[in-house]
Amino acid sequence: MMMTKRAPGLVRAIGGVGATVARHAGGMGILAWRTLAALVRGQVSLRDFTGQLFAMGVQSLPLVLVTSVLSGIVTSQQGGYQFTGSIPLYVLGSVVTSSVVLELGPVLTAVVVIGRVGARITAELGTMQVSEQIDALYSLGRDPVKVLAAPRILAGMPAMVLLVGISNLVGVLAGMLAARLTVGLGHATFFYGARLFWHSYDFFYSEMKAWAFGLLIPLISVHMGLLTRGGAEGVGRSTTASVVFMIIAVLVCDALFPPLFLN
């Protein structure tokens, strides 16, 4: 009885969420399309693009390095603890490498970039929206998509590819070092284990995630920024919503990767 009474409300709620997601996805699709058009027509300022690339890639590097080192150490230690006695220790090399390259590198880097870059973009564009700076751009015959959105969206992918690559390398090296210090696993044995289960495809898989996240993060953050209404409070609201959307989008996308790209 309860179920039948509640179901319509639940269905409606799910339908509402679905409609909202569809509306946002539509808006972001248009944004991506217009960015591509601006790129093809050569209307994106190289200077703005490199500026954004620097802000996203280079300035996020310190924090990405910290999370990568820690994720490498943690996986290595946890594996070392679980394997003691039962499984040959060289397997640790494979576990650390796969965890870091396939999962932790891309996802943790994405989370860092969401916090450092995604939130900033939404707050920045949101503030420009509520203080009429976006209107000012229009009034001067400029297109905010070309001027503001395109450089940010286009810089996201190369920045993520770069960061994830570095994060993978640093994470594995940190795991290797931790394995030696905690369970006394030598570098050569670690590498032996790593190579035993390594597919060169894993590297592409990791960087494919980087491309996907690198597109999603700035696309969502720009979209949410431009949708902002209602003063300083509105900027706060849309920044929070944007971070939530980005995290969910990245995790859902990450969950879709194994069925789509690993067999």
Binding site: S131, E132, Q133, D135, A136, Y138, S139, L140, G141, D143
Partner: protein
């Protein structure tokens, strides 16, 4: 020529309910009206920053709301817009802000020297010293200075249409008069079509060819400054003459205090 044809716009409540009028080429029209009646909304519809629920605006015969993206951009480039709160780009310094008012690619086409010269001239026109403000960020300026930088950004591209949203609000009397004179100067020099939204009635009467009063979603009055001064409409009188405004305000507070007496007091 700018023609507003039956413009309707509602947000939560109706704001514009059928506004129609025409501003001739080279004319300066002032729009007066109580705070919150939709003057800024009306001005924004002119270049499509706000899309009306019904009606249209025509600039030199070209519809703003039937225009495609490229046509709209061309229309907007014809116009300079002075925002009520300046709306300067706060990541850019004053030079970059004003230079943004020049057409895209101006730096390449004109060269840095010429761009700097034009920016400096616009700043001087609004009574700002380029050597002092050029490298400052908007956050480092006073409110009145920001306002004038916004004005400089709007005029630097020498548009054919100028839309001013309260250009003198927040300025000291000397600068207010200077800006009023600038508006008339530009109008005479370049035959620009200007619409000036303002609360400064005296300034409006002295700089404009015609004056209008927006109230209750409609143009309540439209006529020459002389007609405005002689109008018998009580609201126009309240705007035209300080004594009438005082009486209107007193009548208003008497009415609201009677209403407050009738009910229980709302707030201490």
């Amino acid at each position: 020529m700018i023609e507003y044809r039956d413009v309707y716009k509602a947000f939560d409540v109706p704001v514009l309910s059928g506004v129609s009028f025409t501003v001739e080429t080279g004319e300066t029209l002032a729009i007066l009206g109580p705070s919150g009646t939709g003057k800024s909304v009306l001005l924004k519809t002119t270049i499509g920053l706000i899309v009306p629920d019904a009606g249209d605006v025509f600039i030199d015969g070209q519809s703003v709301f039937a225009a495609d993206a490229n046509q709209l951009q061309t229309l907007r480039r014809k116009a300079g817009y002075v925002f009520q709160n300046a709306a300067l780009f706060d990541s850019m310094n004053v030079f970059e802000n004003v230079a943004y008012g020049l057409p895209e690619g101006a730096l390449k086409k004109l060269g840095r020297r010429e761009v700097t010269r034009r920016v400096a001239r616009s700043l001087e026109e609004v009574n700002l010293d380029p050597s002092v403000v050029l490298t400052k960020l908007p956050a480092e300026l006073s409110g009145g200075m920001r306002k004038r930088v916004g004005l400089a950004r709007a005029i630097v591209g020498e548009p054919q249409i100028l839309l001013y949203d309260e250009p003198v609000t927040g300025l000291d009397p000397v600068n207010a008069v200077a800006v009023d004179r600038l508006i008339t100067d530009i109008a005479e020099r370049t035959h620009v079509t200007s619409i000036v939204v303002t609360h400064d009635v005296e300034g409006a009467l002295s700089i404009s060819d015609r004056v209008s009063l927006l109230e209750g979603g409609k143009l309540r009055f439209l006529g020459t400054p002389d007609e405005f001064r002689r109008s018998a409409d009580p609201l126009v009188r309240a705007f035209a003459d300080r004594q009438a405004a005082v009486e209107a305000a007193l009548a208003g507070s008497a009415r609201s205090s009677r209403m407050a007496d009738a009910k229980t007091p709302v707030l201490p």
